[in-house]
């Protein structure tokens, strides 16, 4: 072989690009820009309304964290090339299961929670199994689960109790060891101290006099952060993450290269179900009740957050951090318009605009990165 020229030299066919431009070309750019835009908007229009004091921050953080929990699951599943439209129904269903087990059947709370998790994970696995075995689009399979689960969520409490809301969960959770993992608060000591040194305002009167207005981080937020870190590390730093990308990018090629595509997809359906159940458990313990209409339309909100975050609807590309930013945008806009005193229907208008803007930007970036036409 003749000695190959031009190999060890730096490639003359590459225009040098500035560091700044390089740093901008990330899949999360749409999410980052959207986040900056949204915060700038609300700092200007609602800066004085209390949206950015401790209680206000907690308010939109909790809402964003809810979106984040389901967005992480939807994100990994979408990158693996599938959708789960039954997320919203599963939230309602899981909550109802917990309420029925703990209130109607008088099981200890922790058993109720664990059994609900087991049922939902099994449902997720079944969704995935049907998709990979039949080759049907997950869109259709999970649409069926959407109706089945929602139907059961309405039917069961009506048959058992003649109503569609089951209360008394908070009482049933009293003294349980597992319930605080979903309904408790962390760092309460730290916030107590914040209150004492005056970083956070304290209540001036009433039973809570002297207590900080925010007395800790709700477990919901801790779950959201933990799931984001877990999802991000799994996707970008592990072998399994490579399999997720490969399964969604081209299942056939991935299979021929030795990736266990079916296993990956089924596990991602189960992970999505896990996230939905975490959401549901936090919600029933916080509200103290389960309602048959809980989680309505959550599947679409999760998918929108994921797409704002830069994921490709057809799979094989996306970012958990992006999806988390998408969820943050969602939460901040929803609560921010309330703080700004704007008609809540404008939430949809604003969200539509952000969605369009972020997706256009994401598509542009993705074409640069992947050479996609």
């Amino acid at each position: 072989m003749p000695e190959i020229s031009s190999v060890d030299k730096s490639d003359e066919r590459i225009k040098s690009r500035s560091r700044f431009r390089e740093a901008l070309i990330v899949p999360e750019l749409g999410g980052i820009c959207g986040t900056i835009l949204v915060f700038a908007f609300f700092l200007l229009t609602a800066g004085e309304s209390g949206m950015f004091n401790a209680a206000g921050v907690l308010n939109w953080s909790v809402v964003s964290a809810q979106f984040m929990i389901i967005a992480v699951g939807a994100c990994l599943l979408m990158i693996a090339g599938e959708f789960d439209l039954s997320v919203g129904s599963m939230i309602g269903f899981a909550g109802m299961m917990i309420a029925i087990f703990s209130v109607n059947m008088d099981w200890p709370m922790w058993i109720a929670i664990l059994v609900a998790f087991a049922i939902c994970l099994a449902t997720g696995a079944l969704n995935g199994w049907i998709c990979v075995r039949t080759g049907l689009p997950s869109f259709i399979v999970t649409l069926a689960s959407l109706f089945i689960l929602r139907g059961l969520t309405i039917f069961l409490p009506q048959t058992l109790e003649n109503k569609t809301i089951i209360g008394g969960v908070r009482e049933a959770a009293e003294g349980d060891w597992l319930a605080p993992v979903f309904g408790g608060k962390v760092l309460t000591g730290l916030f107590q101290w914040f209150g004492e040194i005056g970083v956070i305002a304290t209540f001036e009167r009433g039973v809570n006099k002297g207590m900080p207005v925010v007395d800790g981080i709700p477990m919901l937020i801790a779950w959201a952060l933990a799931l984001i870190v877990f999802g991000h590390v799994l996707l970008t730093k592990t072998r399994f993450g490579n399999w997720i990308f490969a399964s969604g990018g081209d299942a056939e090629s991935a299979r021929n290269s030795g990736v266990p595509v079916n296993r990956v997809k089924i596990m991602m359906f189960m992970f999505t179900a896990f996230c939905a159940t975490v959401f549901a458990t936090c919600q029933v313990i916080e509200f103290g009740s389960a309602g048959a209409d809980r989680g309505l339309l959550k599947e679409f909100e999760a998918i929108i957050a994921v797409v704002i975050g830069g994921a490709l609807l057809t799979g094989g590309y996306g970012s958990v951090l992006g999806a988390a930013l998408g969820a943050l945008i969602f939460g901040v806009v929803q609560q921010g318009l309330f703080f700004a005193g704007v008609e809540s229907s404008l939430f949809r208008v604003f969200l539509g605009i952000i969605l369009l803007f972020a997706v256009v930007l994401n598509t542009y970036i993705r074409r640069i990165i992947t050479g996609e036409k």
């Binding site: 730093k237 072998r239 490579n242 990308f245 991935a254 299979r255 030795g258 050479g371």
Partner: protein, 262 residues
């Protein structure tokens, strides 16, 4: 190739049906360590289907496969890969949205232990990918470049480099040079020669008789799902092989009408 050794892979009377389509109607081929066995034949002859039964993608409808003398029953490509059989498929099995190094190690990710947990060793993957691609005569812009931004030939080269890197015992190449330039083709052929010398069994599918003649030790011609015959290097002239590949007589007439350029 020494014939007193037993073959690395023995495929006996392999049949593969897709519904009512009989893609393979009893094909037998064996591959020895250190030989390059060329599979030749017209479009639709069943070459790709045949090597897919060898690499665990398809289960044969009937027939027997012996790997190192033992019956092998690969449930999926993963088993074949871990047994040391690497394949460059005609459609390459590359994911355009993923980076070159993620593609290179897809299904065989290098792991690094940090505490009790194992992580994808990106640093190792990037280094090896760049090195292996350089050996094939392609300089990549970077290991994190997406495969979708590569040219067709560059993609093919990544797939070949990957198979060469992981093919510990058998290397299967399905039309590996179809999109390659002159220099890269020469490189691939010399790579085949090199790995053969290392004692790896190579199965090469090509439509180019000159390439087959350049590296092949034995030539098996398939036609419409059946073995037409197997010949050793030196036993057959390129013209004869070409006629067999095209299914016999028709080409002679065609060839004369084209002025002998085919």
């Amino acid at each position: 190739m020494e014939s007193h050794l037993s073959p690395l892979i023995q495929m006996k009377h392999i049949e593969k049906h897709f519904g009512s389509v009989i893609a393979l109607a009893g094909v037998s081929v064996d591959v020895f360590a250190g030989e390059c066995h060329c599979l030749l034949g017209d479009n639709g002859a069943g070459k790709s289907t045949f090597i897919k039964t060898m690499s665990g993608v398809y289960k044969p409808t009937s027939g027997e496969i012996l790997f190192e003398g033992r019956p092998m029953n690969f449930a999926d490509p993963r088993d074949a890969i871990s047994a040391g059989i690497a394949t460059v498929h005609q459609h390459l099995a590359m994911i355009p949205l993923m980076s070159v190094s993620r593609n290179f190690f897809m299904g065989n990710e290098p792991l690094r232990k940090i505490g009790p947990m194992k992580f994808f060793d990106h640093e190792f993957a990037n280094r090896v990918t760049m090195e292996e691609m350089r050996k094939m005569g392609i300089s990549l812009r970077g290991p994190d470049q997406a495969v979708g931004t590569l040219s067709g030939g560059e993609r093919q080269t990544v797939a070949i480099a990957r198979a060469v890197y992981f093919g510990a015992k058998v290397l299967i190449l399905d039309e590996p040079t179809s999109a390659l330039g002159v220099r890269q083709t020469a490189n691939v052929l010399s790579t085949i020669d090199k790995v053969r010398r290392q004692g790896i069994g190579v199965v090469l599918i090509t439509h180019n008789v000159r390439h087959a003649m350049a590296v092949g030790d034995r030539f098996t011609v398939l036609n419409r799902g059946k073995t037409v015959g197997t010949a050793r290097r030196g036993e057959i002239a390129p013209e004869e092989l070409q006629d067999l590949m095209a299914g016999g007589q028709e080409l002679v007439a065609l060839e004369s009408s084209l002025g002998g350029t085919v």
